[in-house]
Symmetry: C2
Subunit: 506 residues, 2 copies
Amino acid sequence: MTRPPPRGRKARASQGTPAASPAYVTRSLPYYAMLDDEALARIEAQSCRLLERVGIEFRDDPDALRRWRVAGAEVTGTRVRVAPELVKSLLATAPEEFTQVARNPARSVRIGGQHQVFAPVYGSPFVRDLEGGRRYGTLEDFHRLVKLTHQLTPLHHSGFVTCEPCDVPVSKRHLDMLLAHMTLTDKPHLGAITEKSRAEDSVAMARLLHGPEVFDQHCVIMANVNTNSPLLVDKVVTEAAAVYCGAGQGLIAVPFILSGAMGPVTTAAAIAQALAEAMIVGAYTQLVRPGAPFILGNFLSSMNLRSGAPTFGMPEPLLSNLVIGQLARRLRLPLRCGGALTASKLPDYQAAAESADSMLSTILGGANYVLHAAGWLEGGLATGYEKLVLDADRLGAYEVVLRGFATDDDALGVDAYGDVEPGGHFLGSAHTLSHYTTAFYEAQLSDSNSVEQWEEQGAKDAARRALDRWKCLLNEYEAPPLDPARREALLDYVARRKADLPDAWY
Amino acid sequence: MTRPPPRGRKARASQGTPAASPAYVTRSLPYYAMLDDEALARIEAQSCRLLERVGIEFRDDPDALRRWRVAGAEVTGTRVRVAPELVKSLLATAPEEFTQVARNPARSVRIGGQHQVFAPVYGSPFVRDLEGGRRYGTLEDFHRLVKLTHQLTPLHHSGFVTCEPCDVPVSKRHLDMLLAHMTLTDKPHLGAITEKSRAEDSVAMARLLHGPEVFDQHCVIMANVNTNSPLLVDKVVTEAAAVYCGAGQGLIAVPFILSGAMGPVTTAAAIAQALAEAMIVGAYTQLVRPGAPFILGNFLSSMNLRSGAPTFGMPEPLLSNLVIGQLARRLRLPLRCGGALTASKLPDYQAAAESADSMLSTILGGANYVLHAAGWLEGGLATGYEKLVLDADRLGAYEVVLRGFATDDDALGVDAYGDVEPGGHFLGSAHTLSHYTTAFYEAQLSDSNSVEQWEEQGAKDAARRALDRWKCLLNEYEAPPLDPARREALLDYVARRKADLPDAWY
């Protein structure tokens, strides 16, 4: 048997370095066509009925109502009813795909079309690791998670609130998070939205980081906002649209619907409502600035009928992942949906099964920007260190899936049987030798050794191996270079703003 | 908030009783169309080249060579070269779908077409559970695994070697296994193949169990055989075809190809070889008896390039699962492929991620009969008790996925917004109340409780909860009724054969 030459620790470690990393994935794999055109049109018709007849509430932002009135919508109090044709004509000015420019151009990501971008979990107040257990996230945790995201090549995007740094006052937290994303990694990231001034800080710091020329001509930062389902858009959304899109930057609008609570309990109805909500916000971004980058978002979850608790990775949201991509493509809009979601508290069988079914349906359905693609635990309440590296390892496998495989004569092995007889083997054959280095995905955290070898190495389960891996990665972390003047400008900005802002914990 | 009425332990336990169980799944979900017709035709053309030019070795069975010569194949020594047209015309007499009749007619399964049947792991010499660790399987283990399979409703079929009962002599083992499948469950099952006489015992006992009338007119037992890849068919296969198909019973032929060893290292080439091997065995079953039920099988695995060890749940076999269904449907043959496969030693994150990606691609691709759908660990070397019940819980979720969802006006919630305002909630709405009992899959082993509740209940991970569940199921097990005369006839047969056979351990 001729074994391929062994690759040692050095080759393995290099998966964490920027040079080896593709900035994003461009798929060859076809999309999964779950529903036919007639069924898709029925869902769209229901979305249109909601927009036109029930209407959407736009609260606490007179500017938003004014914009809709000027555009020709029917505005009654805070209720906005819009003709579907108007919504669609507004959405038509949003780009079908666009580039979010990273401060390292090699890290810029293409969003939309055949492209897929993976980002880590967003918004968890807690963190969990095998040694430290579950605890509130701190700024130290946040820094470590940004560093790990930087090192994990299947994560193309740094996200934003990888955990809440709960030891920093809420009023100042966004500044520390922005500074970390801008200095500890050169991958692209999102900005803050919780208050208008925080959105403005995000955009201002992005301008400092990228310089006014790049900033004015490119999307360099995006914000992720949630509608208040059902059918309510509050000022967090409209102000974020005004600040980010007003500056030519991107917005992701995501209805977060627990079916049976914030939307109807049936999957088709929840999808139709989510589509209506995302469409109206998308249309609004184009009222603010035609051509502003917009990502149509979707986040459906199901419910445990005994307790009312949200569940994740279950079949109903999995089916919605397969359909929402079809709907987004009919609108020619980039899509955010899915992620490696689970209700599990630990990186165990439950976490992996739910995350895998959620993620595989996400990529087959054709999500372009996937937040929560790694690290999510406990319904999003906790970021798992081990879960982050385990999920990233599977994201690498999904990249291979997205590339599909060739069926030309060489890939078909038309000449592979010259030196192999029936009953023989291909281990040293010419065809094998010419393909083996690229033939298989090399998982970092899957153990395929014999049980004896595995026992000799400590009989570690996947979570325990993941603990070893993230500690090793953090030891190897090196900050990407950053122009000292820009770093100084960012530090100044943060110091100045912190001096202005009171410590507030809400 | 109006909560759905709680369902207690009784409702939960009842999922294990036969009455609640659908005998198999009929899908509404479309198949995933991974390759276009041109690419599929290229793969088929390569399979045809292998059949016609390289040929297939048929060893140690002069009857097989004689049958091929009579049919018009070119036979040189033990090498059989067959015109693709002949292979395809033979395959055309195999049924596109058929029923395997169970001794309880409510358990009969439909195999082929839109139908999906799930069966447990097959062939593991070892078993593992959280308390007992890893050890050789025994007849007691085997009995417990057959009982659990009987109780787990998402498993429609009892399989055969759920673990090897290593404490029984090899020469007699098949008799004890057959007796267990025939008495401890009323689900359909497979028979033995390792020697011709064992295949004959299987068929003879099936005839006793079902009675000659049912036996002669229906498929009541099937056998699963592997080709000796590459391109070699030994007498285990041809004798099993003679015994099973000769009696009108079913055969599943599965090339087991570790890409780069028993087949070319590229995915397309391995698929083409597997297709050629399965096609030739299928054609052979129709030489034995036109119309005999035949399932085209596929089992590709990838390799760890550092060690040469097989890996499972990796992207390359996942892609093959998506394609092989397309190829089987072009031949109008039922398909076996995939399963909940993993190289992991434990029911951990690795096991679940690999199993989920493997199974979801299996069902999207359209496998009709899925062996190894639950319980597989360690590359098939060990059957996991916890893994069995965990995988079965996810199979229940896949059943929901396979059903898809409705998009009629009621499912779209056209009237759902009458009693819900924007910003309100659907928790007690008429639409929710009329749908909630069927809205969501109810997982048995996924914990969606708050972290506080979960800690109060012992902070158990999924594997630990699975240990509780299989023990509870075994406590609740009740044997399905069996006609005493038939039971007596089976016991007599086994006693007589055991008296005739020497104790042999090979």
